[in-house]
Symmetry: C2
Subunit: 200 residues, 2 copies
Amino acid sequence: MSKPGQPKSKDTSTEEKIIGAARKVFMQKGYAATRTRDIAEEAGINLALLNYYFRSKEKLFEQIMLEKFRQLFSVIFPIVNDDALTLDEKIETLVENYISLLIENPELPLFVLSEIRVNPERFKVTLQIPDLLRNSSLVRQMREKRPNVEPVHFITSLLGMTLFPFVAKPVLFSDHPGFNSLMEERKTLIVKWVKAMMQA
Amino acid sequence: MSKPGQPKSKDTSTEEKIIGAARKVFMQKGYAATRTRDIAEEAGINLALLNYYFRSKEKLFEQIMLEKFRQLFSVIFPIVNDDALTLDEKIETLVENYISLLIENPELPLFVLSEIRVNPERFKVTLQIPDLLRNSSLVRQMREKRPNVEPVHFITSLLGMTLFPFVAKPVLFSDHPGFNSLMEERKTLIVKWVKAMMQA
DNA sequence: ACAAAAATTAATCATTTGATTAAAATATTT
DNA sequence: AAATATTTTAATCAAATGATTAATTTTTGT
């Protein structure tokens, strides 16, 4: 009996079923509250298969977490480092793309933040985000426009206005029917407001 | 052998020790990842005592959660409903008080949001917050000043700028030494910026 | 000081849970 | 078709975990 290092990449449907189920259950209940049996059941497979494909709950979780982490941050870096974009264009693109992403994945930010919170050490490595931002084109442009204000304040406000409604959704917008259209109309508002902030 | 319905209220130090330990461990690891043994050890008491005083892990958690929930929202409601305050005064007081609270309890918002996220049904009852806000003096004043903008957008932006840095702290400010003074200086910025937003 | 009540502990239970094993079923190769 | 490798399953394990019990210690009321 041999373990599947890279299982032949032929019929990945079983592996995909497990990943899909893991995504769903982990995202819903978080790592600690998730039982591997829940995932197996959701995937419609035997519990042992989960360990056959992914060695352990933790390994499986790491894949999901990495995927979600990337989803959450891949929006930012291509934009904040694109020297071809003006400051205003960066703001517009960032808000537009982020809110579109979050409308599709509303639970994304709170999931990632929650898991990092509970287990900060494990993700210390992945987190050079402060550095990545510090050296970005965006920060340079902000510093140039407003030398007397720490760029991190602008960025935090921009991200706060954009992400916070999704983070606080269960509290501030619990089962609010028009939430998505509210977020759509929020796109233009945030852009306008951030620009106003940078003039003020 | 009788259970302590309301244990005489004499020497509460044991009960307080348990509560204190529970506060610490629950806040750090979240409900699901917390072992009642961790709490007992942290409190320096026998595991059975925990159940003697609080019947169950869940009951104990509910107390902590209620306390934290109140901490997080008790700042808001006295202010947003104080008809004696102008709109500008409300904004100033809200930001000032909130950031001060959060500097003292940085983990507060992410803890509450995380637990609600994992177990939304349990806290459905406590959550008339959207309604409480909708009927507030603050919303009335905002609607009066800017009839064409949904007040919820202003409020979300205000809260986002204020709360988000603490929610995203582990990612955006991991072990940032000057975080607290950054938040102090942020008080005046947010106030200025929100006012600018409402003019824009 | 003594009895009753309350607080505390050590030992133990019953379940849950992540993981493994050994066998069976299915697919692949020759 | 036979042999080999891969995938899947049922059964089981060992550890962890929330909770209880029964006994012991401490406190309180008289």
